[in-house]
Every structure is written in C-alpha cells, then in structure tokens.
Symmetry: C2
C-alpha cells in the first residue's frame, strides 16, 4: 500500500531556529517558504532533500497539538513520517479494516501539500505516528531534482 516516503515531520519550537540546523549546519539548499495551516494548529516549512523532504512543524495557537510533544521534547524531535498512497479513502478503510485507529474523526483533511491526509495512531504503528497522504497529481518540486 504505502508508496513514496513523502516527508519526515520534525517538530520544533521555532522554524527559524530549526533552519539554523537544516540550512546552516547541515547545508540544505532548498528551503520553501513557511506557511500556516490554521486548521491543524501548525506552521510548516519544507526543506528538500534530493529524494524526499523534511517538514519542520511549529505550534500555531494555544490549541496546537504540538504543545504536548514539545513539552516532552523541548528542543523538538522527530514527530511523524508521511507516506504517499494512491487513494486516501481506500487507505483509511483498509487501515480500519485491519484494526488501526485513525486520529480525529477519521475524515481526511487537506494537508500541507494540498491533498487529503490522515494520521494513524502510533499505538498501532510501533510507536510511530504515521501520516498517509494522497499522492499529489502535480509533484511541484517534490520529486528528485
């Protein structure tokens, strides 16, 4: 079922500070402009690698789901991994049929790349928060370059 590793989500108290790591220390050269995802309570910034992306995620607002993670990991850390799937509804139904818990209502939301996403509960995924994302029709710079 799972396709490309679209991105690794990394939580940070500050995207600006995190970019000092990814751009200045690790030398990443393609950094996309940061933007808010208010419905999800996060601000995000994608950093390209030749074959995938790092998604830096900063809390947006008091109700951000990231506050709990950052309380446990004040410096930030790896938050989730995101894989592409061809059909998000089919993927959700398959995961549910296999006994997995989908976070929230289970209805896909529009994710940072403009396609529907779901999150599968880490308790079913060996402690890993797994995002499934419908493959973008227009990869828009997210493929190898």
């Amino acid at each position: 079922m799972i396709g490309r590793l679209n991105h690794v989500g990394i939580a940070t108290p500050s995207i600006e500070e995190a970019l000092k790591v990814w751009r200045d220390l690790l030398g990443a050269t393609r950094v996309h402009p940061a933007f808010d995802l208010p419905a999800q309570g996060v601000r995000v910034c994608f950093v390209d690698t030749p074959n995938s992306q790092i998604e830096l995620i900063e809390p947006l607002g008091e109700a951000s789901p990231l506050h709990g993670f950052l309380a446990r990991n004040p410096k930030g850390g790896q938050h989730h991994v995101c894989f592409e799937v061809p059909d998000i509804i089919a993927a959700r139904d398959e995961m549910r049929a296999k006994g997995c818990t989908i976070l929230g209502t289970g209805e896909p939301r529009i994710g940072a790349h403009g396609t529907p996403i779901i999150f599968v509960h880490p308790k079913d995924m060996g402690g890993v928060l797994v995002e499934l994302m419908e493959t973008p029709q227009n990869a828009d710079g997210m493929e190898a370059h």
Copy 2:
C-alpha cells in the same frame, strides 16, 4: 552538504513484531533480510519505499545503545534520520568546525550499508539524532525502483 534521505531509523523491541506493522498493515512489499551489527549493538532490517528506506533497529546484547531509548519508548519509535554525504571525513570535520558534537570517538564506523557513518548529537540538531553516511558506490537496490 546533505544529500539523499537514505533512511529513517525506527527502534523496535522486536523486528518480527515491527514487520507486522510495515509489511502486514502498511503493505510494504520489499523487505530485506535482517542482520546483526554486533559492533553497534543492533540488529537491523531494511524496508524499501520507492524513494528511500525504513531501517528497523532492534537491540542486540546487553550493552545495546537502544535499551535506553526503548525504556523511554517501550513500543518503539522514530530513532534517527540518515542522510548521504559524499565524503564522511569532510562532513565530520565540517560539522565539528560548526561546533557540533560527533557521538563516540568521532571516528567513522562502518554502517549497515557498508560505508562509513557518523552520528551527530541531537542537542545540536534540534532534538533529532542525525546519521551521516558516505554515499554507497553501489546503491544495490536502494534507489527508486
């Protein structure tokens, strides 16, 4: 500096149990045989995605560095991210010159893909354990397919 996202390292108390997640639930179809890395105190198993890999890591022996991680995360979880670099010594020296701490002696060890690797301390990497790995000359099935 950093190149391809070679793999995401995921710690698990049991590779066999983890494969129930990655193969049976998430439907990964390319799973490599597991093998021991005694010098590093881990047993590893690579799972391919079309563009990268997941490295499942299980403790090997009493002195395994994974025991501490699993004590904090009994189900397992995201452990490190690994990026390819063209020259591991140049990468190490550059990271040190920028003030980063290299784990262990700082001398590269041979990693799971047979090329030299180092780990950069998470305190310098926004809470993320970063592995740098010299790009394999023979990608041996690790490229997109």
